[in-house]
Each structure stands twice: as C-alpha cells, then as structure tokens.
Amino acid sequence: MQVHLHNPKRDLEVPGPVRVKDLVKRLGLNRESVLVIRGDSLVTGDATLDDADEIEIRPVISGG
C-alpha cells in the first residue's frame, strides 16, 4: 500500500495486510500523535489495511 507521511512529506510502500496500530508502531510513531486515514475515511487502530489501500498518516500535534 501507499503510505503518505507529513513533516517531512514523503511516500512509502508498505506490504499488507497490516493492522493500523502495527503500521503506526512499525513507523516509530505514537498512536496518540497521528490519525490514520484510508482514502478519505478515518480508521481505528484495529482495522486491517490491504495492499490496494492508499493511506495518509496525519500528524495532530501543533506547537502554537
């Protein structure tokens, strides 16, 4: 699957199937600090992502 990340913006290819919380962990991110969006829909930590999915991992922490 294609995974889009921010800060810095970059794309990764990750093989599926993988659970959302495992993907976040594998990328070294904190579940509290990101949202995972499949297409244009949010997904929960237990959802399974497949090879054909397009995923955005969106940071939610602001510094202001």
């Binding site: 509290e32 939610v60 602001s62 510094g63 202001g64």
Partner: protein, 304 residues
C-alpha cells in the same frame, strides 16, 4: 472490527482514554456534548452573548468555531495575520474558506499592515523565541479585537493537550504565578474581555478527527516558527505516557483544575492587585509600558 460505543455501528475513531470507539455521527455528538458540558460547568458563555472565536486556520480553532455554531451560539471569528510568509497566506485561506462556506463572519487583523512588523521581525528585534513574540501579540490583539467589536467573550481553541503541556512546563519550573492564571475561564476585568477555552476536555487528536469527519479543511502543516519548540517536546513526552497509560493527560490537567487551582487563589488575587494599565495604549499591564507596546517599539520603531 471496533463498534461504536453509542450505537453499535462500525467505528471510525477510537478514544482510548474513554475506552471507547465511535462512528462518525456519534463522535460528532460526543464532541458537542464535551463542549456543551465544559461551557455549562465553567459558566463560560451565557445565552444570547456575542462570541468572538480566535481563528488560526488550524484544526482546533476551526473545530471550536464549528461546534459553537452547531450548538447555536452567535459566534464570529477573528484571524490574525502574523506575517509568517507563505504559512500566513495559506492559513488565512483556510479561515476565509471556512467562513464563506459556513456563512459566518470573519474579521481579519493583519499585523504587518496594521502594526508594521511580522512575527519573525518581532522575534529578531526583541531576541525572544518566535512563539513567545507570537503569543504575546496574539493575547494583546485578540483581546483588542474582542473589546473593539463589543463582544462579550473571546474563545480560543486551546485543547486538552495544549493545557496539559503548558501545565507540565509550569510545574517543571514551579511558575506559581503562571499556574495560578492557567484557568479555563479568565473573567472580564477593566481592559480585558472574558477569555474561555471550551476545548479543554477534547484532545487534539479528537479535534483533528472532528475536522476530517466534518470535511473541514484546515492547515495540516506545522508553523515553521514552531518547529522544535519546548511546547512540542512537552507534548511528545506526555503522549509517550498517554500511549502506555491512556487518560494520563486528562487526569493530570483536570485534577489540577479541581484540586490545585483553588489552593492558588491567593497567588491569583495578588496578581490581580498588581495589574495597572499601560501608559501608552491603556491595556492592562503590571509595568508602566505593556509588553506589546515594548515589542512594537523594538520591532517597528517608526510606527510608535
């Protein structure tokens, strides 16, 4: 698959500190209820009052504006142009597009146009870190906008993570004066509009999710001036704790409000007693010239 705690449909967002997951509709209901409960329990906004919401173009400010409008409040927005190159232009665009789509009124105050400096200039001239110059300018100018517009209350989008991180920093350095004024409601006084924070029970992960679910476009990229600041480091530290022990941030901050703030009332009272007014602009200040006027003097001396 996770099921919605409220209706049993497929969930789209999990909120671990509530040991709950929600579908899109029930999550929006959850956010509205959290905000309604916060406003009522802290007596933030009375029925019929005119509300001004500080809008940055980010998730928190747009979420609280949307929630207040959905809850039926008479809420206008105010956007401050900070003069941070492309970032300010982009964030202003998000604020203006939301206002237009929602049919809401947005005031714009552009600091470079009206005061002759941008935040990067101010930080350089005063040797402050940019976020300090920015925070100081925002507090002064948002208050001024609320007073000039005759609004009863100024709403900011500070969320649970913001408040927990500020509390963490204040505790690490035992800033008792800052702790005493870290309140969800700062009442109106001479020269100050009432300031309230209705998002204190909602994390920033939830405000971001709210915007995604309601199709509210906001600026996702971080302010270039904020990269690596102390506030962000505190948030990361607290989120490390939260990941291992969900609910840590809420207990830390909400128990501070319940158990610690009442003990700091004498410190707050002493602070209030010391506040006079700025000899230059008339704003409340503990010094003869307020911090904002000093900043303008150094950042844009020709405008003084």
């Amino acid at each position: 698959m996770n099921k919605c705690k409220r209706c049993g449909a497929a969930a789209v967002i999990d909120v671990r500190r509530h040991r709950a997951a929600f579908c899109a509709d029930c999550f929006q209901h959850h956010c509205r209820e959290q905000v309604r409960r916060t406003i009522d329990s802290h007596k933030m906004i009375a029925p019929g009052e005119r509300v001004l919401v500080a809008i940055s173009g980010g998730k928190d400010s747009l979420a609280i504006w949307d929630l207040l409008l959905d809850l039926g409040y008479d809420a206008d927005g105010v956007y401050l142009g900070l003069g941070i190159s492309d970032y300010s232009d982009t964030s202003r665009g998000f604020a203006e597009r939301y206002a237009e789509q929602r049919g809401a009124k947005l005031h714009v105050v552009d600091i470079p146009t009206e005061h002759g400096f941008g935040i990067p200039d101010a930080a350089k001239a005063t040797k402050r870190v940019p976020c300090s110059a920015c925070g100081l300018s925002k507090r002064h100018l948002l208050n001024q906008a609320a007073l000039d517009g005759g609004y009863d209350v100024l709403v900011t989008g500070h969320n649970l993570d913001d408040e927990a991180a500020v509390l963490f920093g204040n505790v690490l350095q035992w800033h008792t004066d800052y702790l005493a004024r870290q309140r969800p409601v700062l009442p109106a006084t001479d020269g100050f509009a009432r300031r309230v924070k209705p998002l204190i029970r909602i994390s920033e992960r939830e405000t971001a999710a709210y915007c995604v679910l309601k199709r509210i476009d906001y600026i996702v990229e971080e302010c270039p001036m904020a990269a690596g600041n102390r506030h962000l480091r505190y948030k990361e530290t607290l989120n490390d704790l939260e990941e291992r022990s969900p609910g840590t941030k809420a207990v830390f901050y909400l128990q501070f409000l319940d158990k610690m703030l009442p003990l700091l009332e004498s410190v707050a009272e002493e602070e209030r007693r010391l506040v006079g007014s700025c000899s230059r602009c008339g704003a409340p200040s503990t010094a003869e010239i307020c911090a904002f006027c000093k900043l303008v003097e150094r950042a844009a001396p020709e405008s003084v």
